[in-house]
């Protein structure tokens, strides 16, 4: 396997207590600059896979390498710093601290000790996601689509190796969802960021380069992303 791949899993498994395996024997490598979509039905283990790959949860079996480091047994504080400095996150909801401004939310990783961000870089990032001029607005005032773009800006501001997105458009309409996905696509094409996105929406998955399909915790398909109709047919 490619040791330089920013995301690697080998025999990955996750089990909660004595319940059936939520994730079983998943091996994969995501090379730099690839946009991967993970699909599967509810309960197929796609969020569990994302959490384990991103260092938000620890696997019960197997190993995970993230941004060049084996995180399987990395101490919590070191793992946190790795996430802060090399990884970006976009969740479906509860992405932001509601009483902080747009700028403060975007600067959160930096303020937690991550890579420094110059005022010019912040302004450029906000412009790039279409939020120029809204820096000092509390995020509580923003629309759902604007909030998700704040989350994308926060995920990208540290120039991460990998961005993990968990249903980033799940709470958005197709138009605003499309804007968010194009931002992720642009980060891949322009800056060579690696994106791993979980989604149940074929329209969202169509923005990716590669499609992974999970069923009952197992990886059942791993292909180049086909067109929307074929994705929908595969996922159903």
């Amino acid at each position: 396997m490619d040791d330089d791949a920013p995301v690697m899993a080998d025999g990955l498994g996750r089990r909660y207590g004595q319940r059936p395996w939520a994730l079983r024997d998943v091996s994969l490598a995501v090379p730099a600059g690839q946009f991967v979509a993970v699909m599967g039905a509810t309960g197929s283990g796609k969020s569990t896979l994302l959490h384990c790959l991103a260092g938000l949860d620890r696997p019960t079996a197997g190993r995970v390498r993230l941004a060049g480091r084996d995180i399987t047994r990395l101490r919590e504080a070191a793992l946190t710093r790795l996430r802060r400095d090399r990884v970006g996150f976009v969740f479906q909801s509860y992405n932001l601290l509601s009483t902080l401004t747009v700028a403060r939310n975007v600067l959160l990783p930096a303020r937690l000790g991550g890579p420094r961000v110059s005022p010019a870089a912040l302004a450029a990032m906000l412009d790039a996601v279409g939020l120029g001029g809204l820096a000092d607005r509390p995020v509580g005032d923003l629309s759902g689509g604007q909030r998700q773009r704040v989350a994308v800006a926060r995920a990208l501001i540290t120039r991460p190796a990998v961005v993990f997105a968990d249903e980033p458009t799940g709470a958005l309409d197709p138009t605003t969802g499309g804007q968010v996905l194009r931002l992720l696509r642009a980060a891949v094409d322009r800056d060579g960021v690696t994106v791993v996105m979980v989604s149940h929406d074929p329209l969202a998955a169509a923005h990716s380069d590669r499609l992974l399909l999970l069923r009952e915790g197992r990886l059942v398909a791993d292909t180049r992303t086909p067109d929307v109709t074929s994705i929908a047919a595969m996922a159903s």
Partner: protein, 429 residues
């Protein structure tokens, strides 16, 4: 670098800090009253020692209860904590932020408590003089320097309590915290039931076996009887609450749908509510025992016992009861705030605000009656070896029952009334 995690948490979750703030307020009040009285009666060693003991108890209880209440406050910020952990806050940073939150809240709460403690201390010194415990010439002299001292004590104890409370939530894996907390479920286990029954039976047996011991020895052992019974009742709490719902159903049915809704929700919430039952039963039983020892002696011998001794005993009991009442109110309020969406849903489903509050009042009634019955049982079993047949005047019993109802209402009906002021859709959306 200053991150403002604490400041954001204090702004975004203002209500979550009512618990620690109320604990700190009571602690500052007790410290302010005892230390000012102590400074005012300088030169009466025995009284001075008792007052020091009160102050130390207050410090100890503050660490404990700020920890407990901060735990609930952290739980309400779980989503934010998970996000911060995901994007780069280490467990240590979360712990520091939580300690800072508790310390920041301690300052206004401490100032308010110090000021409220002054009139309380003044009244208390007056009663101590009346009972011959303090010299007639003792004058109540507030000492402004006590304020910074009390604030310092409060900030340090709050930070310690909060640090301990934050250890577990700060270490939780972000993925676990991001998952829906509602999917986690606890069951009333056989081990818990067995241990509860064992403690209750043990307490009862001990009570019978020490009945023939001489006075002082019986009094000391009675403390263990009460502790065993209270912990046992706490362990059996969910079962006891569900049983009282079963017993009370015919009565509640008289209140129609409101009563049935209340019975159902107490049965479902029995585990969470039983957390409030322990401080409630402990306080009421402890107060009942303290009062009954004196009133029974007076009733049997036909004359009052040494009034001074009784008065000091009551003073100490008041301090304990204040803290325990704060703990009970907070636990109840935490349960209620956790149900804000359920209450909003009830309103959206067609219940008027009055109807929702009526349900909460019924629930409060179930908890109050259950608490009183349990406390009476615990106090009764504890008192038998001490006084054989306890006697408490009806008026005193009524006051105690009313006080219990007020405490329960303060933790249920009051927050429910405050929460339902907003349109229900605000909670759901």
């Amino acid at each position: 670098m200053r991150t403002g995690i604490a400041a954001q948490a204090l702004r975004a979750h203002r209500w979550a800090f009512a618990g620690p703030a109320s604990t700190q307020l009571v602690a500052a009040m007790v410290l302010s009253a005892t230390l000012t009285v102590q400074a005012s009666v300088d030169g009466v060693p025995e009284l001075s020692e008792t007052l020091t003991a009160f102050a130390l108890i207050a410090v100890y209880l503050t660490i404990l209860l700020v920890g407990v209440t901060m735990n609930a406050a952290i739980a309400q910020q779980a989503r934010d904590v998970a996000l911060l952990r995901a994007v780069g806050a280490t467990p240590a940073r979360i712990r520091r932020a939580v300690a800072l939150e508790a310390a920041v809240v301690a300052v206004p709460a401490g100032i308010a408590g110090y000021l409220l403690g002054l009139p309380a201390g003044w009244a208390w010194l007056g009663s101590l003089v009346d009972h011959g415990l303090a010299p007639v010439g003792a004058r109540f002299t507030p000492e402004p320097l006590l304020l910074p001292l009390i604030l310092a004590v409060l900030v340090v104890t709050s930070a310690i309590g909060a640090l301990v409370a934050a250890v577990r939530p700060a270490r939780v894996r972000p993925a676990v915290a991001l998952a829906d907390a509602a999917t986690r479920r606890h069951r009333f286990t056989a081990v818990r039931a067995g241990l509860g029954l064992l403690l209750v039976a043990g307490g009862g047996t001990l009570s019978v076996s020490i009945a023939d011991l001489p006075g002082d020895a019986a009094d000391d052992a009675a403390l263990f009887v009460m502790l065993a019974l209270c912990v046992g009742v706490g362990l059996l709490g969910p079962f006891v609450l569900r049983s009282s719902v079963v017993l009370g159903r015919p009565l509640l049915a008289l209140a129609g749908g409101t009563g049935r809704l209340a019975a159902d929700s107490v049965a479902v919430l029995s585990r969470a509510l039983s957390g409030a039952l322990v401080p409630l039963v402990l306080t009421v039983a402890f107060a009942a025992v303290k009062v009954a020892v004196h009133t029974t002696t007076a009733h049997v011998t036909g004359r009052e016992g040494p009034a001074a001794e009784a008065w000091l005993d009551y003073s100490g009991t008041t301090v304990y009861c204040l803290f325990a009442a704060v703990a009970a109110v907070n636990t109840l309020a935490t349960v209620l705030v956790g149900r804000r969406r359920d209450l909003a849903l009830l309103e959206l489903a067609g219940a008027t605000r009055g109807r929702v509050l009526a349900v909460v009042v019924c629930e409060a009634g179930i908890v109050t009656v259950t608490g009183l019955v349990l406390a009476a049982a615990v106090a009764g079993v504890t008192l038998v070896p001490m006084v054989h047949v306890p006697y408490v005047p009806a008026a005193t019993l009524t006051v105690g029952a009313l006080a219990t109802a007020v405490v329960v209402a303060a933790g249920t009906v009051l927050p429910a009334a405050l929460l339902t002021r907003r349109p229900p859709i605000g909670e759901i959306g």
